[in-house]
């Protein structure tokens, strides 16, 4: 269970070591920080595996409904709770069927699109919102900063799941509501990080220089401050995707998720809740998929963070 982590640590150390050895020749002045970081990222095989799992998930998400072995939404109660033929060797459902007799394999693939859609869209919303809020707070300071910083504190003090349940219970479960709720509750994490960085960056000489040449505040924020924070945002984004995927699963498990026939891995787990002792595969298979995907995204996030960390390069 824990050897991959140890190997991963080792790999990381070696990568750092190798990087430090090759620094004098490899670090040419023309090579950008981003390119160097990406190169460091791809030096680790753990990152490759994580990326592979994420890419497989994306491929599942874009697989057309018609290509799936069975229709993921057609019910057949006569064939409900069939065990996976993968283990039992009988039946034509590789991963078994659920409580309504739908093929778990087809549904797992079909659910990937909604699972990814919800978490990725929510992350996009929260990234944009959080970055804008954090940038303006950190750059303009003053009363705007006071207000935004207090808002961030308030938002962070509120448990995400609780807030989402409350909002979804009132607005009713739907795909759009789910995306909006998750996107709107997660902005504070970005805002806090971005605000901190912007606060220190705005005192830098190159910002003063830009201001002296008459650049507008917008231009300074976008062209001079934002690029310097981008790597932290990217790292934060990966962790956020994983976390929102879990939150989405939790909400779907509670029945607050997307509306049928759309489904997510979380709602598949919820659907098998009452049958866990009779038919473990209904919940276990989407559960495994969530675990693998979240683990992969987290590992990729870890890898990105290490790769972008300037201290790691030297």
């Amino acid at each position: 269970m824990c050897w991959p982590i140890r190997v991963y640590e080792l790999t990381k150390t070696m990568a750092t070591y190798r990087a430090s050895l090759s620094l004098p020749t490899a670090a040419e002045p023309t090579q950008s920080h981003t390119r160097r970081s990406l190169r460091a990222f791809f030096r680790s095989w753990v990152n490759w595996i994580a990326l592979l799992i994420i890419v497989i998930g994306f491929l599942m998400a874009i697989t057309p409904k018609e290509w799936l072995p069975h229709d993921p939404t057609a019910v057949n109660p006569a064939l409900r709770l069939q065990p996976p033929s993968l283990f039992s060797g009988e039946g034509d459902f590789l991963l078994g069927t659920d409580t309504l007799g739908r093929d778990i394999l087809s549904r797992s693939i079909y659910a990937a699109r909604w699972t990814y859609l919800v978490s990725v869209s929510a992350v996009v919303i929260s990234t944009v919102l959080g970055t804008m809020a954090g940038l303006s707070a950190g750059y303009f300071r003053g009363w705007l900063d006071t207000i935004i910083a207090r808002l961030i504190d308030m938002q962070l003090a509120f448990p995400i799941v609780l807030l989402s349940i409350a909002v979804l219970a009132v607005s009713g479960p739907s795909l759009l509501n789910m995306i909006l709720v998750l996107g709107l509750v997660d902005w504070a994490r970005y805002a806090r990080v971005v605000r901190g960085s912007a606060l220190s960056l705005r005192e830098e000489d190159f910002v003063d220089a830009a201001r002296a040449t008459g650049a507008t505040s917008w231009r300074i924020m976008m062209r001079h401050i934002l690029p310097n924070i981008l790597s932290s945002i990217v790292v934060l984004t990966t962790f956020s995707t994983a976390r929102l995927m879990l939150t989405e699963s939790a909400l779907s498990f509670l029945g607050l998720g997307v509306t049928p026939p759309a489904t997510t891995w979380g709602s598949m787990i919820g659907g098998g809740r009452d049958y866990i002792l009779q038919a473990w595969w209904i919940s276990a298979i989407p559960g495994t998929l969530i675990t693998l995907t979240v683990l992969a995204i987290n590992l990729a996030g870890d890898g990105l963070r290490d790769a972008f960390d300037p201290r790691g390069e030297r």
Binding site: A78, T99, L100, G255, D274
Partner: protein, 521 residues
């Protein structure tokens, strides 16, 4: 070190064993001469513990119609007449026989003699009259007792109910709510106070009620039906479904109510437990609003939708613990059920043909609303119906709603949209069932149809069973030709119990009546 420890252990064990023996030996040893006492002294108290799914809000059965509350006092407060356990016939209770006058305006009831209440009051015609007056005055029963007029005491054991109009379902109203109350005690305490310390004529009398925890009853030795089978009955409140089954498995409780379909197999597979089921009263349908300008307004489309949905498939969702409706609102065993009607056996091809014939060869779009987490498998049923309709080309947009919101929309908004799925529960009397769809009812979501309203009214006024049957069959035929929606299923009510529990009779009306229940232990 170890040796000494072992000696100590043996000594303790010996002490425990002898002490244990001593305590079991003493009672028989002390009273060697008294044979009667010896036998009863050895037999331990017989206690029946029920794991109930809800804490009763009140123990006064006449102020509400909630079977889950009334179950708790069903073996304490008896009724004049009862519904038969499964069906719509009426069986005697504390009224031994009855007869309608020829004009149908009077019902004469002959009462059982020699019945006393737990507090010593005597049951007679005055008590019956008092009880019927409480029923008449009770708001939840009003819609069924509004035709009830004066109640007369003829002699000590005969009572007559007068009606404003001939009332065919009067006995059903009595079967549902003719609770026999002690007049002096009830009048002194009032309905509210009575709920805290109910008194009746049943085999088990009230002991205590600890809110959200348990209600205890003990045997009433002077019961007219002979000595009760149990010394005590304890209703324990266990709201969590899984916890109730677990309590039954470990023997903490002997009988549980409201077993969910998902847990039925757990009980079935346990050799110490037994699963008992009975068709329930909640009729699940996908209703349509045929007043709307929408394809569902066409009866042919509605018939097509009925052919599209596999009732057997829905029954399979419940592991067989449900029964499909036969193209009509009434169930077999209820007056007016017609087995000759088209039961809309699953036939997606015919559904497509009918849709094409009605002018929708490519189907149409409709929303389907359904409540979630309210009834067992409600979400699954909604998804299944939607999938069946999708299969014949109808594009269904599913709208699962939290029950409170579903209910609010149903009550407050003009329309639920073209289609919604849920279950309505009524006593198994044809009038009580079909009058849901009477004129002005919130459940009536079809254009006013005088034929239908006349038949409902006519059925209400008939006291002769054969004529009643003809009326309701006529109504069922209309609703078969022009369906109210998609006729789906009635899930069974499930009870789990230890195999030692015998003679438990489940009832369609969901009231748990333990008067005849015994134990083999």
């Amino acid at each position: 070190m170890f040796a000494r420890f072992r000696v100590l252990l043996v000594a303790i064990l010996a002490l425990v064993l002898t002490a244990g023996c001593a305590s079991t030996v003493t009672p028989t040893g002390v009273q060697p001469g008294d044979t009667e006492n010896t036998s009863s002294g050895v037999v331990e108290e017989k206690v029946l513990v029920i794991g109930h799914h809800v804490d009763p809000v009140t123990l006064n059965p006449v102020t509400n119609t909630t079977a889950a509350f009334q179950s708790v006092t069903a073996s304490t407060i008896e009724q004049l007449v009862y519904f038969e356990p499964e069906g719509s016939d009426i069986l005697p209770g504390l009224a031994e026989s009855w007869a309608f006058s020829d004009d149908g305006l009077q019902l004469t009831m002959n009462l059982k003699e020699g019945v006393i209440f737990h507090n010593g009051e005597e049951f007679n015609a005055e008590a019956a009259k008092f009880s019927l007056e409480q029923l008449k005055a009770s708001p939840p029963y009003e819609r069924w007792t509004q035709e009830f007029g004066d109640i007369e005491v003829v002699d000590d054991y005969t009572v007559v109910i007068n009606f404003a109009e001939p009332t065919g379902f009067a006995l059903s109203a009595l079967g549902r709510g003719s609770y026999v109350l002690p007049p002096a005690y009830y009048a002194e305490l009032g309905a509210e106070e009575f709920s805290l310390a109910p008194v009746g004529t049943g085999p088990y009398q009230f002991v205590e009620w600890v809110k959200d925890d348990h209600v205890t009853f003990e045997a009433f030795e002077d019961y007219w039906g002979g000595p009760p089978a149990f010394d005590r009955i304890v209703w324990r409140v266990i709201p969590e479904d899984a916890a109730r089954v677990a309590a039954l498995q470990v023997g903490e409780v002997d009988l549980i109510t409201n077993v969910t379909p998902g847990q039925a197999n757990t009980i079935r597979n346990d050799e110490n437990l037994r699963l008992v089921s009975i068709p329930g009263v909640r009729v699940f349908m996908t209703y349509v609003d045929s007043r709307l300008d929408h394809p569902v307004a066409d009866p042919m489309v509605r018939r097509a939708m009925n052919y599209a949905v596999d009732k057997d498939g829905l029954v399979a969702l419940f592991d067989g613990e449900a029964r499909g409706l036969d193209g009509q609102y009434l169930l077999p065993g209820i007056i007016g059920y017609d087995e000759t009607l088209d039961n809309f056996a699953y036939n997606p091809e015919k559904a497509k043909e009918l849709l094409a014939e009605a002018g929708y060869p490519d189907g149409f779009t409709m929303t389907l609303k359904y409540p979630i987490d309210r009834y067992p498998l409600d979400k699954e049923m909604g998804e299944t119906v939607a999938a069946y309709l999708e299969a014949v080309g109808i594009d269904v947009e599913q709208v699962p709603l939290e029950y409170g919101e579903f209910r609010r929309q149903h009550v407050e908004e003009e329309t639920m949209g073209p289609a919604w799925m849920w279950g309505l529960a009524t006593p198994s009397d044809p009038h009580m069932m079909v009058s849901l769809f009477g004129p002005g009812s919130i459940y009536t979501r079809f254009p006013d149809d005088q034929r239908v309203f006349d038949l409902i009214d006519q059925g209400m006024r008939e006291t002769d069973t054969a004529t009643r049957e003809g009326t309701y069959k006529e109504l069922m035929a209309i609703w078969n030709e022009e369906p109210l929606g998609i006729y789906m299923i009635v899930p069974n009510d499930l009870y789990g119990m230890s195999i030692a529990i015998e003679n438990f009779v489940p009832r369609t009306d969901q009231v748990v009546d333990l008067r005849t229940t015994t134990t083999s232990e």
